[in-house]
Amino acid sequence: MKIAIASGKGGTGKTTVATCLSVLLSRAGCHVAYLDCDVEEPNGHIFLKPEITGQERVYLPVPVVDQDKCTLCRKCEEICQYNAIVCMGKKTLVFQELCHACGGCVLVCPANAISEIDREIGLVEDGRAGDVAFAQGKLKIGEALSPPLVKAVKRRALADGISVLDAPPGTTCPVVETVRDADLVILVTEPTPFGLNDLKLAIDMTRQIGIPIAVVINRCDVGDDKTLRYCKQHKIDVLAEIPDDRDVAVAYSTGKLPIDAVKGYSDRLQPLVQRLWGGTR
């Protein structure tokens, strides 16, 4: 089973919920993998402190042009939707960072002038944090295209047990890639106008994909009650409401898991553990 933790708005507590949930599920006897799909800014390792034992570099095949064979027919330029290959003067140039690796140019070239080389976009690290299997993606700085790396991280999902996918903030490509085949998406929000606006966008996205959702309201006593009312009105399960607590913020700031550092915190997440593990046992 894959459970994605997403949010729309950043900084609402996705990683806190995802890491705590992974550890609590594991302590309850469930086979768990924590997969950090926020490959632009992966933070789960700060809290889980995994021992990294393996590394895989992730590549995309990008075109190279043999200028001697190229007849400047521009067929590659025409098929490319990303402006990544362009005939300029007497040369055909490739802009690798724009390339989505669709392979169209290679197939369409009548002169067989285009081949592909591997371009590294980042890496996936594997390890363990106690009983929790751990993996994270790290996008190379300056790379724009993160979904292929998210895909590579998700290949570590468990065949049995629960894989917790920590999604990036937002609602576009890398988030869609993270959540698209999840069994449940837990949206972590905070009850503020920004939080609610971005929650609605995230709900829109998950509904479009057709995945069941549930909500966790973090810092539930700041802001206003519009988020709770919205969830009730739209019949969205609110699995946990976690009050604002300076101790949690301080534990977070130093990389401690609040379930270990703050008394009573793990009780707040028990409904989630029950829902996920109580039901599948």
């Binding site: 800014e41 939707q81 169209g104 700085i141 106008p193 966008l201 994909i209």
Partner: protein, 296 residues
């Protein structure tokens, strides 16, 4: 005209609240919300929309079931595992191929090579963008439709339109709210800009993400400075982050404290500096003065 882009690396550090306050403090400026994934600036600035335009971000590719002969060429050449053999049958074959729109990147390669011309590929509207008027000046913003791609392209468009608007109106500053992360929309926000302000928070996650975003601004050769927001949550960490920023060649600017007034202002739909005259507002004002002199 100068352009200031505010980003954060980590999400939820208070970027948009600071941009909204800057919008109130700055003179002769235009605004752009480039966090097109999860735009929030409009919630505070309450824009009155003057014009609304379609954003064509990618291509909608669809197999026409009536024409598909199930030859399998499309499935063979698709690099995105977006083609499934579970489409409806027709008079010729019991099953046809189908494209999963979520997996499809809109490259159109399948449509190009389909021998039966059974694949349709057309421009897809993936969002809309607006020119608006707010009480703090003109603003360009956008909305990407749910589960759509090409946010980088939309960010570039918003920035370009906002620059044009600022030039037409003879304004001196373009104030840009960026998005979290270091990927495509962030790259599209910072390339070629005059100055980047990175708003972070005094946590290990904030520090870690700042490291990556500073590498990014260095990679693109953009001048940047750092502000630690909510600094009093962990003063030791704030000091460590500021020292780290200086080492990385980015100036550490004025700190801002944690204050519930920031959330209250947001709930009231106003900016922090308009909501309170307290210490948090004074700190934001001091930060703004520093940013102004850094940009000179």
């Amino acid at each position: 005209m100068k352009e200031l882009v505010v980003i954060s690396g980590k999400g939820g550090t208070g970027k948009t609240s600071i941009v909204a306050s800057f919008a109130s403090l700055a003179q002769n400026k235009a605004l752009a919300d480039c966090d097109v994934d999860a735009a929030d600036l409009h919630l505070v600035l309450a824009p009155r929309i003057l014009s609304r335009e379609r954003f064509v971000g990618g291509r909608d590719v669809r197999i026409l079931p009536g024409h598909c002969t199930a030859c399998g060429k499309c499935e063979e050449i698709c690099r995105f595992d977006a083609i499934y053999f579970d489409g409806p049958g027709n008079g010729m074959v019991p099953k046809t191929f189908r494209i999963d729109p979520l997996a499809c990147e809109g490259c159109g390669v399948c449509a190009h090579f389909c021998a039966e011309n059974a694949i349709e590929s057309k421009d897809a509207q993936s969002g809309e963008w607006f020119i608006s008027e707010t009480r703090h000046g003109p603003m360009v913003h956008a909305r990407l439709f749910a589960a759509q791609e090409n946010s980088g392209k939309l960010v570039s468009l918003v920035r370009k339109q906002a620059k044009q608007l600022a030039q037409e109106r003879g304004l001196e500053l373009l104030l840009v709210d960026g998005s979290p992360g270091i990927g495509c929309p962030v790259i599209a926000s910072v390339t070629g800009t005059d100055f980047v302000l990175i708003v972070t928070e005094p946590t290990l996650s904030g520090k870690h993400d700042l490291g990556r975003v500073l590498e990014l601004t260095k990679h693109f050769g953009v001048k940047s400075a750092v502000c630690v927001n909510k600094f009093d949550l962990n003063v030791e960490m704030t000091e460590a982050i500021e020292a780290f920023a200086q080492e990385s060649g980015a100036k550490a600017l004025n700190r801002i404290r944690y204050d519930v007034a920031v959330t209250k202002a947001q709930v009231m739909g106003t900016t922090v500096v308009d909501y309170t005259t307290g210490a948090v507002a004074q700190e934001i004002k001091a930060l703004w003065q520093q940013v102004v002199s850094e940009m000179r």
